[in-house]
Amino acid sequence: MRPLTGPDMSKPTRIYLPADSAALALGAEALAEAITAEALRLGKSIEIIRTGSRGMHWLEPLVEIATPMGRIGYGPVGVADVTGLFAVDWLHAGKHPLCIGKVEEHEFLRRQDRWTFARCGIVDPLSWSDFIEHGGGQGLAWARAQGAAATLAAVTASGLRGRGGAGFPAGIKWRTVHDTAADIKYVVCNADEGDSGTFADRMLMEGDPFALLEGMAICALAVRARKGFIYIRSEYPRAITVLEDALSVAREHGLLSDCEIELRIGAGAYVCGEETALLESLEGKRGQVRAKPPLPAHRGLFGKPTVVNNVLTLATVPAILTRGAETYAALGSGKSRGTIPIQLAGNIRHGGLFEVPFGISLQELIDEVGGGTATGRPVRAVQVGGPLGAYFPRALFDTAFDYEAFSAREGLLGHGGIVVFDDRVDMSRQARFAMEFCAAESCGKCTPCRVGSVRGMEVIDKIVSDRDVNENLVLLEDLCNTLRLGSLCALGGFVPFPVLSALRYFPQDFRRS
């Protein structure tokens, strides 16, 4: 917060401007300087508050002005727009082509039901008073008052499943760690969000880091752990800075009085998002996958019982305890309960973060919410669930966004990211890239993944260069089966999803003659 003094210093107008990576990448920092300079020149008293992002990334940088009618939004605002915006008196909600009206009433937000992201984009992420005013801390207070058994029961009853992608019930994992006797237990937050098309963890950590820390504190209380680690990828410099600051603020206010949390930064290895590789990396070793069993819940970090949960899983728990496990469980479809923060990415007009109950169709997400492609061309394919997720053609857009519905169609919900491609995409290249990525990121421990991914690239190269196409197609299917059934972890095990789906739904891209 930077109060400015000027002739009209009686009541500074509050201006909210995201310091989320997406906004920064589109010039939010230069914009903040330009707004400050222009206000000073005009003698207007303003106070700029840096927030996370609302998740409407096509409108970033999105500036919100606090008015008696509520927060009025203007976006996307460039430095060149600032003079004109002051000229129409935007500090009093002046009309302007960039004005989107009351931000909360924007259709993109009205369609959502935000639990995990309730505070994101609204509060100053490092302001403890903002956090408390917007319901922060109540989940931990509930857990402290009700105790570990009631907390475990509530998390189980909510139906919350691991948001990292595996979808394992959080309550069962927590109970297993709780029930395993040990002198030391750990809570580990997996913030190694490496899947292309996903950025929900990043947004949450940058926009509402206390939600994550509160969730970890609750988890520690429930499983009787006293030490936690957040393993965050090095590709998220902004999130790292915010978390470092958030940890000291949280410590000051007693959020971490029963559980100390340490931030650890990765070093650019995708496979460390796999939970056992992550634990190896935390121990200071190569990020090589461990064979399971033993499960990390029995023997995890340094051989001790460990909860490993994704950022979103942990950050949703406080809201569940505050607003009620049954209320959360009443949302969703099938066995996928509650809400899912969906990320709309790639070639999409309205990209961003959209949190709704499970069950919404791909078609609604891409055409209605996302508004089709950014390039205006027809959507040809979408990849859901990261680099290991299947490519779906429009014929499958009736698929409901839930774990089982995607599995039933040999797809992967994963971490909830959707990457949209227009009609210029060459699916044989996408299939080859999946193998190439697997080869580059394989930890090397198991042969199907380490060698199979390289062979996969070679076979696809032969197919697209028209060499023994029929034989090589059979070989590719066979190789994918070996990878699927013979790999230790999801990297090799799931890479057949993008490859075989590309082959099945877009065969014309592979057969050139």
């Binding site: 990448a25 589109l26 292309s196 947004m203 590709e235 999130a239 070093a267 200071g284 790639g346 930890c443």
Partner: protein, 153 residues
């Protein structure tokens, strides 16, 4: 900065109390010097009472660690799917041609090292890049040049 044994020792000492110290120690050294030369392996191994093979294994496993110094500014271009959907491959080809260097290479004047990165979490504002410490969304050659110019100051 050139490798400096005494400075490295101070950095190692500041991190060795951590649980599983190898990665934080190596990260801190890499951040300070910009690369991890041969000497780092032996020094870290001895300080942490681990074998040189173990430390060598860790250093070579992680993409972030460079065995030799890079250029003054690192230009990381995202090569992952969401950026591909917005033309990142064509952009990479253009950048590589304009800079006169390929992936992991440094321009002849030592100004820029071009590096691939797999996802910066800017998939809704693709293609994305990280120039020095500045994030660039909807990147094109012009915006990358502007970001590079800022790093020169």
């Amino acid at each position: 900065m050139a490798w400096h044994k005494e400075k490295a020792a101070v950095i190692i000492e500041a991190n060795r109390h951590l649980d599983g110290p190898a990665l934080p120690v190596l990260r801190a050294l890499h951040e300070a010097f910009g690369y991890l030369p041969e000497e780092a392996t032996a020094q870290v191994a001895e300080a942490l009472n681990l074998s040189r093979a173990e430390i060598h294994g860790v250093i070579t496993f992680y993409h972030d660690f460079r065995p030799e110094p890079g250029g003054r500014t690192s230009l990381k271009l995202c090569r992952a799917e969401a950026c591909q959907a917005m033309g990142s491959e064509a952009l990479a080809a253009e950048v590589s041609q304009k800079l006169g260097t390929s992936w992991h290479g440094t321009t002849r004047d030592g100004r820029v090292t071009l590096e691939p990165v797999f996802c910066l979490g800017l998939c809704s504002v693709a293609p994305a890049a990280l120039v020095g410490t500045e994030l660039v969304g909807r990147a094109d050659w012009l915006r990358l040049q502007q970001a590079l110019a800022k790093c020169d100051h």
